[in-house]
C-alpha cells in the first residue's frame, strides 16, 4: 500500500489524541502494528512547546502525519500546515478545514481551496472530506492523490453512516487510495470499511477512549486485516433465497 509513492506498513492509521497518558498511547501504537500516526498541531503548541509529547511520538518510530485539526479557515489551515512541515520535516499533511463547530463537518469549499494552495507549494495533502463524489473530483483536480472520506462525524463512534456512498466512491475513484477517516467506533465498523474496498482506516477516539486502548488497537488491526482479506477474496453475492450447502442431487437412496 502506497501513499504518494511511500510504502506504508499497515492499513491502520492511528491518531494520538485523548489517551490517558503517553505511556498508554505508546503501548496502543505498538499493539496496533501501525506505521503511521497523526498528530494535531494547534496554535497552543505551534511554537514547538509540545516538544515533550512529540518526543514520545518520535520514539514510536512511526511515520508522522501532522494534521490541521481544529482549523476553521483556509488561512488557519495553511499556516498550521507550514508550521507542521517545519516541525516534523515532512511534506505530508492531513488537511482539516472545519465548517461546523457542532458536527465538525468539513467545509468542503475551504478544503478544496486550501488543498490547492498546499499542493502547489509541494505538500502531499491528505484531505479530510465528506463522501461527496464531486468534492472528491475537485480535490483530485487540486492536486490531492489520496482522499479521506468520513464514516461519521469525528469522535462520534457511529460507524459508517452511509456505506452506499463509500461504495460509490470506491467505484468512482478506482485508482485513488481511499482512507476512511472519522466515525469508527468498533472493530466491526473498521472491518466493514475495508470490505467496501477502502484502502485504509484512520481512527483515534475508538482506541483512545476504550477501557483498554492497547487491546482495542490490536482488535482494530485484526478487523482491518480481516476486512481487507475479505474484500480481496471477492465475496459471494447476496441472494434472496436459500441455497442448500449440501448437494440436493444424488442423495443416498434407502431401498
Amino acid at each position: 500500500m502506497q501513499f504518494y509513492g511511500t510504502e506504508i506498513p499497515s492499513r491502520l492509521l492511528l491518531g494520538t489524541a485523548q489517551y490517558p497518558s503517553p505511556a498508554v498511547l505508546a503501548e496502543a501504537v505498538k499493539s496496533s502494528g501501525t506505521g503511521t500516526i497523526t498528530v494535531s498541531l494547534r496554535r497552543e503548541t505551534a511554537d514547538g512547546s509540545g516538544a515533550g509529547f512529540w518526543e514520545t511520538l518520535r520514539e514510536t518510530g512511526c511515520r508522522i502525519l501532522p494534521n490541521t485539526a481544529g482549523c476553521h479557515s483556509v488561512q488557519e489551515a495553511v499556516t498550521t500546515a507550514h508550521m507542521a512541515r517545519e516541525l516534523f520535516d515532512t511534506p505530508w499533511i492531513k488537511l482539516e478545514v472545519i465548517g461546523h463547530s457542532d458536527t465538525l463537518q468539513p467545509d468542503v469549499f475551504g478544503l478544496v481551496e486550501a488543498a490547492r494552495i498546499l499542493s502547489d507549494e509541494g505538500f502531499q495533502v491528505f484531505p479530510y472530506t465528506t463522501d461527496d463524489l464531486v468534492v472528491g473530483e475537485r480535490l483530485l483536480e487540486a492536486g490531492c492523490e489520496v482522499l479521506m472520506p468520513w464514516g461519521a462525524p469525528i469522535g462520534s463512534g457511529q460507524g459508517l453512516r452511509n456505506p452506499d456512498a463509500l461504495r460509490a466512491m470506491r467505484a468512482h475513484f478506482p485508482g485513488v487510495p481511499l482512507i476512511v477517516d472519522a466515525g469508527i467506533g468498533r472493530p466491526s465498523d473498521a472491518a466493514m470499511a475495508m470490505e467496501l474496498g477502502m484502502d485504509a482506516v484512520l481512527l483515534n477516539t475508538a482506541v483512545a477512549k476504550a477501557g483498554d486502548p492497547a487491546r482495542m488497537a490490536a482488535a482494530m488491526a485484526q478487523a482491518i486485516d480481516a476486512g481487507r482479506a475479505g474484500f480481496a477474496a471477492d465475496p459471494m453475492e447476496r441472494r434472496d433465497m436459500a441455497v442448500p450447502s449440501t448437494p440436493v442431487l444424488g442423495l443416498a437412496e434407502f431401498a
Partner: protein
C-alpha cells in the same frame, strides 16, 4: 542535615515526613511565600482518587487512599464527596464514567436536589462519590509550611538552592529524562448567589469541567489538559469553554465575577504517575501531574523511607499497611 530544593507541594510534604522522623531539614525556595512558584497554586485541591481512576492508573487509588487523614492533620479537609453530572444529551458520558470508576452510587434528580439544592431540577441523573473530599490548595500550602516550621524545618525564601541537595522537588525546573509539561488552565469565580458545597464535575465530550467551592461564594473552575510548555495566560478559547461549562452547571454563574484566571505547567512522566528517581546523588520527587494534593502524602512518605530507612521491623510493617 537534609536539604530540599523547592518549597512547593512536594518539597513541603517531604519536609513534613522527614521532620516527623526527627531529621533536621532545610528547604530552599526561590519565591518569597509558601508555594509562590508552585503549580499547586492553580490546583483544584480535589482529593478524588475514585473519579481520577477514570483516566489514571490504579495507583491513584492505592497511593491516594491515605491522603484524607494526612491532610486533615494539617488543613481543613471538606469531606463532602464529589457529584458528577452530565447534560441530558451527554448521558452516554455518565454511563462510561460510571463503568470506568468505582466508589460511587447513582443518584436521581431528587437525590441531586437533596445533595445540592442549587442544582434542583437541572440534572436528572448523576454519580455520587461519597468518600471524596476537597481542600483549599493555597491555604493548604500555607498551613503546611507553618506546620513544618513549627516542627523545626527551616525554609529559606528567595534563596536559590545550593548546587547539590539531598532532595529535589522543583517540578518543571528539574530536567529529568521523560519529564514533560502538561499545561492546565483555571479561573476563579465569585458568585455568592449560588450555594454549592462540594466538588462538581460536569461531563462533556469536549470540555469536561470541575468546580470546587472555596467558600464565601468563591469557586475554582478548571481544568484543561494541553501538551504544551507554554505558560502564557489562559487562552480565549479555554476561558470561554470553561465559562460556558460553568453556565451549563448553573445559569446564575452568568452574573459571577471572574476574579482570577491562571495557567500552570504540571510536571508529568510518560505514565502520568509520580516517581522517585536518583541522579548524581540527589533524590528527585517529581511528576505529580494533576494529582499533587492526592498523591504528595504517599510519595513524601516513600521519599522519607528512602532517605531515613525505618529501623524496627514493627514500624516498617505498620507503614506498609497504613
Amino acid at each position: 542535615m537534609i536539604t530540599i530544593a523547592g518549597a512547593g507541594l512536594a518539597g513541603l510534604a517531604c519536609a513534613y515526613e522527614l521532620a516527623q522522623r526527627g531529621a533536621k531539614v532545610t528547604v530552599y525556595e526561590r519565591g518569597n511565600t509558601p508555594g509562590d512558584s508552585s503549580v499547586a497554586r492553580f490546583a483544584g485541591g480535589m482529593l478524588a482518587p475514585w473519579c481520577e481512576r477514570e483516566s489514571a492508573e490504579e495507583e491513584v487509588i492505592t497511593l491516594g487512599s491515605r491522603t484524607f487523614g494526612w491532610w486533615a492533620k494539617i488543613t481543613p479537609v471538606h469531606r463532602r464527596g464529589t457529584l458528577v453530572v452530565a447534560p441530558a444529551r451527554d448521558r452516554a458520558e455518565l454511563t462510561r464514567f460510571g463503568r470506568r470508576t468505582s466508589g460511587h452510587r447513582e443518584v436521581n434528580s431528587a437525590e441531586i436536589t437533596g445533595l445540592e439544592p442549587a442544582l434542583g431540577g437541572r440534572f436528572s441523573q448523576g454519580l455520587f462519590f461519597e468518600q471524596e473530599a476537597h481542600l483549599d490548595p493555597r491555604r493548604a500550602l500555607r498551613d503546611l509550611s507553618a506546620k513544618v516550621q513549627e516542627m523545626g524545618v527551616e525554609i529559606r525564601y528567595s534563596t536559590p538552592a545550593p548546587a547539590r541537595v539531598t532532595l529535589d522537588c522543583t517540578g518543571m525546573a528539574a530536567s529529568l529524562p521523560g519529564l514533560r509539561p502538561v499545561r492546565g488552565e483555571m479561573a476563579v469565580l465569585h458568585c455568592p448567589e449560588v450555594k454549592i458545597s462540594r466538588t462538581l464535575r460536569l461531563l462533556h465530550p469536549r470540555m469536561p469541567l470541575y468546580l470546587v467551592p472555596r467558600g464565601d461564594g468563591y469557586f475554582m473552575i478548571g481544568g484543561t489538559m494541553i501538551e504544551s510548555s507554554s505558560d502564557r495566560a489562559i487562552t480565549l478559547r479555554s476561558l470561554s469553554e470553561l465559562l460556558n461549562a460553568a453556565f451549563t452547571l448553573h445559569p446564575a454563574f452568568a452574573e459571577a465575577s471572574v476574579v482570577e484566571t491562571g495557567a500552570g505547567l504540571r510536571p508529568a512522566f510518560p505514565d502520568n504517575l509520580p516517581r522517585l528517581t536518583e541522579q548524581g546523588g540527589t533524590l528527585f520527587l517529581n511528576g505529580l501531574y494533576r494529582h499533587g494534593f492526592l498523591l504528595a502524602p504517599a510519595m513524601a512518605q516513600q521519599a522519607a523511607d528512602r532517605l531515613i530507612p525505618e529501623t524496627t521491623d514493627e514500624n516498617h510493617r505498620e507503614r506498609q499497611t497504613a
